[in-house]
Symmetry: C2
Subunit: 205 residues, 2 copies
């Protein structure tokens, strides 16, 4: 990889509906822009708890929550992305996050992420359980048992805690969040701006 | 006015920075789309208090607040809109909201709204005080004293309370909020989608 290739970091949580939009959209847009994507799975739960929140703001603030599901249906229609309202929200997302960390830079990380997001927001599956993760890995022709064992190792568990702590230290307050040369962009709506600034080599304004 | 002209309602608060973006952008975009704008000034404060919040979420949630001001600088640069971080946020916005209600459908309502938003977010003026409102009205060649007297009448005061109560009943939780045929769109980022749906006569999805 050419070290001068512009890079965008995608910080996301498999439980987050707006992360779903970004995960489904980023690969094609970044390829077209000549920007490399660094995938940064983390957990929103500990971040929200550090703000004194017991749950997602879409659950705690019911007017915003009601709106969010209408917005998701419209946004998915606009982008041509499948959508089914999950019967449980937010879902536990620790296991797929750990599998992503176990994947590291492997080429299957991106298709795995998309499959698990579709499992949550198209197929209404419990992505925190073993079976959907195993299914996604097997469908990608991968040694699922071995990968899931690695995902359950102390090293990977600790890496996810550390990644979430890094997010907190970098003042991440929601997901998806993008970073381009250290500048934060929050929300799927900012993906195009972040990619444009990455490609332009634009300095922080 | 042709009653079949598609319409967008803009619910906004003069204290709200993202409302500033929408107020500055909507006229040109709506004209180009052949959509009529209904201006709906209201007060976010009573809405936030009804959620148990003592202040703007950008004040209460400091990570989000810090980000918001960076985002505003970038968004204003993108849209070619002037920006100066206000030395006080959020400002009292009752008086310009009352003047807007006193304006009704008068053609000076839109230029007045833009001037007061620029007073807050470009000129760092106390828009809740009489002088900037009077200045804006005089600059538009209007009988400022007479309009300000009307803005202070019981009828207008009561109309602003009622407008805010209607916002609350319609589940408005932030600003700007757009309505197109009864469907809610939240945030300056949804202005183009809302206008597109208004023009297309698109039914709720």
């Amino acid at each position: 990889m050419d070290p001068t290739t512009p890079t965008i970091e995608l910080w996301f949580d498999f439980a987050s509906n707006y992360s779903y939009l970004a995960v489904m959209r980023i690969e094609a847009l970044a390829d077209a822009a000549g920007v490399r994507v660094e995938w940064k799975p983390f957990l929103l739960g500990p971040i929200f708890r550090s703000f004194g929140w017991s749950d997602s703001p879409f659950v705690l603030q019911k007017e915003k929550g009601e709106y969010t599901w209408k917005d998701m249906a419209r946004q998915c229609a606009k982008y041509g992305i499948p959508w089914r309202m999950p019967s449980r929200f937010p879902r536990l997302s620790v296991l797929p996050a750990r599998v992503m960390l176990a994947a590291g830079d492997a080429p299957w990380a991106t298709p795995f992420a998309k499959r698990m997001m579709l499992a949550n927001f198209r197929d209404d599956r419990e992505i925190g359980e073993r079976e959907p993760n195993e299914r996604a890995l097997l469908d990608l022709g991968l040694p699922a048992a071995e990968i899931l064992e690695r995902a359950g190792s102390e090293a990977v568990k600790s890496a996810l805690r550390e990644q979430t702590e890094v997010a907190r230290r970098r003042r991440v307050f929601g997901a998806p969040t993008f970073f381009v040369r250290g500048e934060m962009y929050w929300g799927n709506d900012r993906l195009e701006d972040a990619l444009g600034d990455a490609r332009a080599g634009r300095p922080p304004r």
